[in-house]
């Protein structure tokens, strides 16, 4: 959108051109390496770097499925990240609604505590969390450790603080008159939430969902300890390409691309919402 009626001076235009070009190069370089290496034969990637492949091959894209059970890991990641996202959004919407619309005792303690969890070093609670899941499993028979469920629970909580905080901001930008009008029409507070606030906050909710999904999709530490053969996610599974024999860089790059494409594509499709969500939510 045009910001001012004044034409930008030349110095501004030039520096813009330079800075943005450099940035484009910086951003694209690894992307180019990823794409081109994934199409190279193995000799090319285990020898001196070359900008252009000596020959193009789609072999890596065929081989990746056999070297490690990529499809299985993919499904696991999708299930875990998907479920964590949905749950995280639902839980965050409830919590954010409470924080933004009500005054209650302990509100401040709640927000401060939730936000302070962002400071917790993952290492400190990896082993305790694992113990807790096992103890819950022993006591109730609910398998949390090693199951996708346990991982979903963990990841959903990881993204919760930032999500709640962002949604509180967003909900506060939704005029209270709207809730009120809905209440006049006979909705309860939750009716107002679902019929009025949530629809008005779609960009914020999408932003939160994207954040939750990416948190779950990229986590390595907890996944490496809490999953097993059947529940292993991509973050851990990709290590399988550095095998006993050799590092199949072309396959690693092909697999990296394959696992990145869905997230990147989804992210880019939703990026408009993301900016809008942040605009009204976090950065007011």
């Amino acid at each position: 959108m045009p910001r001012s009626p004044m034409a930008a001076p030349r110095s501004f235009l030039w520096s813009r051109r330079v800075v943005l070009t450099l940035l484009t190069g910086f951003v694209l370089l690894p992307v180019y390496v990823m794409v081109s290496s994934s199409l190279k034969p193995l000799e090319d990637v285990s020898e001196k770097f070359r900008w252009l492949p000596s020959g193009l091959t789609i072999r890596p894209y065929i081989d990746i499925w056999d070297t490690v059970p990529l499809a299985k890991y993919f499904v696991n990641s999708l299930v875990v990240a998907g479920a964590a996202t949905v749950c995280s959004v639902v839980v965050a919407v409830f919590a954010a609604y409470a924080v933004s619309r009500y005054r209650f005792r302990g509100k401040r303690v709640f927000t401060v505590t939730v936000l302070s969890t962002q400071m917790f070093p993952g290492i400190l609670f990896l082993l305790p969390l694992f113990l807790l899941y096992v103890n819950i499993g022993n006591a109730t028979g609910i398998a949390l450790f090693g199951s996708r469920g346990g991982l979903v629970l963990t990841y959903l909580t990881f993204s919760l603080p930032f999500s709640i905080w962002m949604l509180v901001g967003y909900f506060e930008s939704v005029p209270r008159d709207l809730d009120e009008a809905a209440m006049v029409d006979g909705c309860g507070p939750l009716g107002a939430l679902f019929r009025v606030v949530v629809p008005a906050a779609v960009p914020g909710i999408v932003a939160v969902a994207v954040y939750a999904f990416m948190t779950a999709w990229g986590e390595v530490l907890f996944a490496s300890v809490m999953t097993n053969d059947t529940t292993r996610t991509l973050a851990v599974g990709l290590q399988g390409y550095a095998t006993q024999n050799d590092v199949y860089w072309n396959q690693i790059m092909a697999a990296s691309l394959v696992v990145s494409v869905p997230v990147v594509a989804g992210f880019l499709l939703l990026q408009r919402y993301l900016v809008a969500g942040l605009t009204a939510g976090a950065v007011k």
Partner: protein, 439 residues
């Protein structure tokens, strides 16, 4: 101020929680195992073949065979090395682990100290055919001396010198070196035109440990004293570490780039005729998968300082290998022992060791003609005559980390042209030793 009050409230709430959870800590991991679930077993296998899937393909038919014979269904999980120790640690802490598992034999004493593994007393050994079935050196890597082994040897390996026949011929060298001096002399002839004499994995901590441990033996140094206390800074240990790093720093027969290798890149270089020698354990299948033909490489014992390989200061390999352990709180104790018996039977040893390119630690299986290849002949002889187990102390994994890192740092220094002197080596080792926490 309100923030602080809120934080104080949170802290109070947290400490209340502490009171409730601290009592419930730990896990109810009773004494020994039981036989509550006699039909199934969970087995964690280490990654022995080229990749996880290949291992599964090799093991699955054998497990089927076991099921047919005993009716016990084995759930297999092949765990990558990067995760294996963490998985075992968490399993130990929680008591929720497999029934049977593979461990690197160097971890035996460390894991034994946790009490998570079933001790193999004579009675237990009887059930798998008795101690005598196993090679002595392999049994030496199953736990602290003087206590019942924590595991049973499953696959054995030793280090050998693999060399590229054509590169040797081109440099006018008749045969593989038998001493380090010869290796350096040959190496100087081989290192030219962008090719290098020897490969190393400078950033691979375990590999560094394996090499300097053997050199330590050759310099009359152990890294632990008789009481199991770390002793990294003896003159022998310093000389041993220095002699290894000097292959790059002084003799310049290892490519500087090797100091960042940690994923077996040195084997790739060897297969591509870029380096003429590697010190490795059972590398045949890797060379094959990289397109190097069997007649292109030769194999010889790892060099010693002088004379021929043997015990004492002529040790030229660690006892490498995989052990099989039974998790203390298995719910299928009899089945687990039966499974170990099955896996260490002559028949399975032949099948599995041939598939993974290792040597059976079971004497009778070793005699099988399948293991008569020249490569395995060298490895077998080394294992029987001139291999020593890594220190069987609970601190072994710390030793690998601290000293392995010291060697890695020294390689990095050598590669970037910094001087590697006795003093710098000693300084690194002093630091490593100080980082060993007192138990």
């Amino acid at each position: 101020m309100r923030t602080f009050r809120a934080a104080a409230c949170a802290a109070t709430a947290a400490s209340l929680l502490a009171a409730t959870t601290a009592c419930g800590g730990g896990s109810p991991t009773g004494g020994g195992g039981s036989n509550d679930k006699p039909e199934t077993l969970t087995y964690w296998a280490s990654n022995q073949g080229p990749n996880l899937e290949a291992d599964k393909k090799i093991l699955t038919p054998e497990l089927k065979k076991f099921e047919k014979r005993t009716g016990i269904k084995v759930e297999l999980e092949v765990i990558p090395w990067s995760d294996l120790l963490n998985r075992i640690v968490t399993a130990t802490t929680s008591g929720q682990g497999p029934d049977v598992l593979n461990i690197g034999n160097t971890w035996s004493a460390s894991l034994q100290a946790t009490g998570a593994l079933m001790p193999w007393d004579d009675k237990a050994f009887e059930k798998v055919g008795g101690r005598d079935r196993f090679v002595e050196s392999a049994l030496g890597s199953t736990g602290a001396t003087g206590s019942d082994p924590a595991a049973v040897p499953l696959y054995s390996m030793a280090y050998a010198l693999y060399y590229n026949k054509k590169m040797f011929a081109d440099a006018g060298i008749d045969g593989p070196p038998a001493t380090w001096d010869e290796l350096v002399a040959d190496g100087k002839k081989l290192s030219r035109d962008g090719k290098w004499a020897l490969g190393a994995e400078g950033s691979n901590l375990s590999n560094n440990i394996h090499q300097v441990f053997v050199l330590g033996k050759q310099h009359g140094a152990d890294f632990f004293d008789s009481r199991g206390e770390p002793d990294f800074t003896s003159d022998g240990a310093v000389a041993a570490v220095k002699s290894y790093v000097d292959l790059m720093a002084e003799a310049k027969i290892i490519a500087p780039g090797n100091s960042e290798y940690a994923q077996n890149q040195s084997l790739g270089d060897f297969a591509k005729n870029k380096t003429a020698m590697v010190l490795w354990q059972a590398a045949a299948s890797t060379f094959e998968s990289q397109g190097m033909k069997e007649d292109e490489w030769g194999v010889a014992p790892v060099p010693v300082r002088s004379g021929a390989p043997g015990p004492g200061t002529s040790v030229n390999s660690m006892v490498a290998g995989i052990n099989m352990a039974v998790f203390q709180n298995t719910d299928n104790l009899d089945g687990a022992v039966k499974f170990v018996e099955f896996m260490t039977s002559d028949e399975e040893q032949k099948i599995l060791c041939s598939a993974f390119g290792s040597i059976p630690p079971v004497k009778s299986a070793q005699r099988d003609p399948a293991f008569d290849r020249p490569e395995l002949e060298v490895l077998r002889k080394t294992l029987a005559e001139s291999a020593a187990p890594l220190p069987q102390v609970p601190d072994e994994s710390q030793f690998e980390t601290t000293v392995g890192t010291a060697v890695k740092n020294l390689f990095a220094a050598a590669a970037t042209g910094r001087e590697v002197t006795t003093e710098t080596v000693r300084a690194e080792l002093v630091e490593a030793e100080q980082q060993m926490t007192k138990q």
